[in-house]
Amino acid sequence: MQEAALPSPATPLTTDLVGEIAAQALWIRRRSFQMVYEAQQGHPGGDFSATDVLATLYFGVMRYDPKNPRDPKRDRFVMSKGHCTGAFYSVLARAGYFPEADLSSYMEPLSKLNGHPNRNYLPGVETNTGPLGHGLPVALGIAIAGQIDNAEFRTFVLTGDGELQEGSNWEAALNAGHRKLENLTLIIDRNRLQQGARTEETASLDPLDEKWRAFGWHVENVDGHDHAQLLEVLSKSPKGREKPLCVIANTFKGKGVSFMHDNVAWHHGVPTKEQYEQAMRELV
């Protein structure tokens, strides 16, 4: 890892960083599922497929200061799959951007914790997302600003995989490759399920790695639930790569809870009391 220019809530960096990330991921899964249960709304399947990527970024990779959320030197994270706010808000609260107690207001009337994130309500949100295919093009613009200034910060963006059916992603992919934006990292939450069916049954994406390579990106395929693998590919210095990085994080929707695992019904399913209790028994 690079020397942190900003204090990070991941510190102290114990010898067991992977263990620390795993502990944070467990907390995020439990807390986000509680949010969804209490609100009886949300997207818990995608929350769980994205949790390990989020925990690795916020507690092992990115440099940021939650007390100075618009520090020009901060690494940026763009949550393109903006519907997965259970996990996103949980990681932001855990990272110190706002009190964990605020999570209890998830989707309540007039809450700052809207179903999709709003940067004008919550520190730590870089751009308002919700409609799919918006995050990568905005992250491209952030990375270009960094390139113009020869700045040190990195820009990370997390998209779903079904979301890649939006053409705007490929406009941005073309541009990032053309500009050799090594400061830009795309992570694809490749859980292979979109809202209604499998991606490969809807508008197939495979071979996904070849598509990104053809657009001029460096591609890494990883187990998106393996914190050590994620940490290795995400924390490696981009300097000299001269290509944007695409990390295909192979994941499972609903990862961590047996009855939700790889089950499309949990895209925006909400748990009963019994299901909630069973999930909490499993998430330990």
């Binding site: 870089e126 751009t127 308002n128 409609p131 705007s168 541009n175």
Partner: protein, 319 residues
């Protein structure tokens, strides 16, 4: 800052003012960048590109990314001027304008070039007579439609100075420089009264303002006193609308836009909820046939004669 030279005898292409102003602003403020979608020439940004090559981002023919990149550049501390044909930067990228720019409330300036029916013969795909109706729905997005080269330059400066999202609609249609006092100023949200009058008010913007002034002169010769208000800012509207209704009792709006939801629609919303008076909205009825812009203006009565007729008819409806 003086305006750019006239493009032909006494008439100006406001894009020249845009280009000259943005170059001068960029000299003084290193945060200013331009973003284009293969639209360097049509935005008249060739000079900017020569002077600041590293500060022009050309995303290619990709309007969604064009607008989104503007949002990202603002996040990275830049003051981006995102410039493309008005029909595409609005219609093609409308959700990016909504979510990435307006709803996110970021410091991005959108420049809609060659708006209205400037591309007359190219047909409705290339006309931009819906843009104000679409963008007016985003309550925090400032909308400016300058009327001449001086006001274009002032609008661009005001947009740069304002910290938030702004859309400036720039025409390529030749317009004269309007007569103004030497100490005239421009402020976002402030209208200017170019001709005083008491029988009716003509509220216009953009390329229609000088035509409204000409109509007022015609009417004055008949003894009809028509006020002319240049409502360059469509959002937020100036309270001059309320005064016009109260003081003259009749309003005619004129715009290079559809009659649905543009300047006229905005004014009607205010008039109906404050002081309803007879009103007439002049503009295009919808998709228009092929023809040069000047032909289309005349065909749809967006000229001195048509405006004067509408004023007479609207005054006749006063109770």
């Amino acid at each position: 800052m003086s305006v750019a030279a006239p493009s032909k005898a006494g008439l100006y292409d406001c894009r020249d003012s845009f280009a000259k102003t943005i170059e001068a602003l960029a000299e003084a403020d290193p945060r200013i960048v331009t973003v284009v979608s293969d639209s360097v020439g049509s935005s008249k940004l060739g000079g900017f590109k020569t002077k600041f090559p590293e500060r022009m981002v050309n995303v290619g023919i990709a309007e969604q990314t064009l607008v989104a990149v503007g949002a990202g550049l603002a996040n990275g501390g830049k003051v981006p001027f995102v410039s493309a044909a008005s029909c595409f930067i609005t219609g093609r990228a409308l959700e990016q304008v909504k979510a990435d720019i307006a709803y996110s409330n970021v410091n991005v300036k959108l420049i809609g070039q060659s708006s209205g029916v400037a591309y007359g013969e190219l047909g409705p795909t290339h006309h931009s007579i819906e843009d104000l109706a679409w963008l007016r729905l985003f309550n925090n997005l400032k909308l400016i439609v300058p009327a001449d080269p001086w006001q274009t330059a002032e609008a661009i400066k005001a947009a740069a100075a304002y910290d938030g999202p702004v859309f400036v609609r720039v025409s390529r249609m030749a317009v004269p420089a309007l007569d103004r006092p030497a100490n005239a100023t421009f402020e976002i949200g402030k209208a200017e009264t170019l001709v005083d009058g008491s029988d009716a008010t003509i509220i216009a913007n953009g390329t229609m303002v000088h035509r409204a002034v000409a109509a007022a002169k015609t009417l004055a010769a008949e003894g009809i006193s028509a006020r002319v208000v240049n409502m360059a800012t469509v959002n937020p509207l100036d309270d001059a609308v309320i005064a016009a209704a109260a003081e003259t009792g009749a309003i005619v709006t004129v715009e290079e836009h559809s009659v649905r939801g543009g300047l006229g629609g905005a004014i009607a919303e205010v008039v109906i909820s404050t002081n309803p008076v007879p009103m007439r909205i002049l503009g295009f009825p919808g998709f228009v046939p092929t023809g040069s812009a000047d032909f289309l203006f005349d065909h749809f009565g967006l000229n001195e004669t048509g405006i004067a007729d509408a004023v007479r008819q609207t005054i006749a409806r006063k109770k």
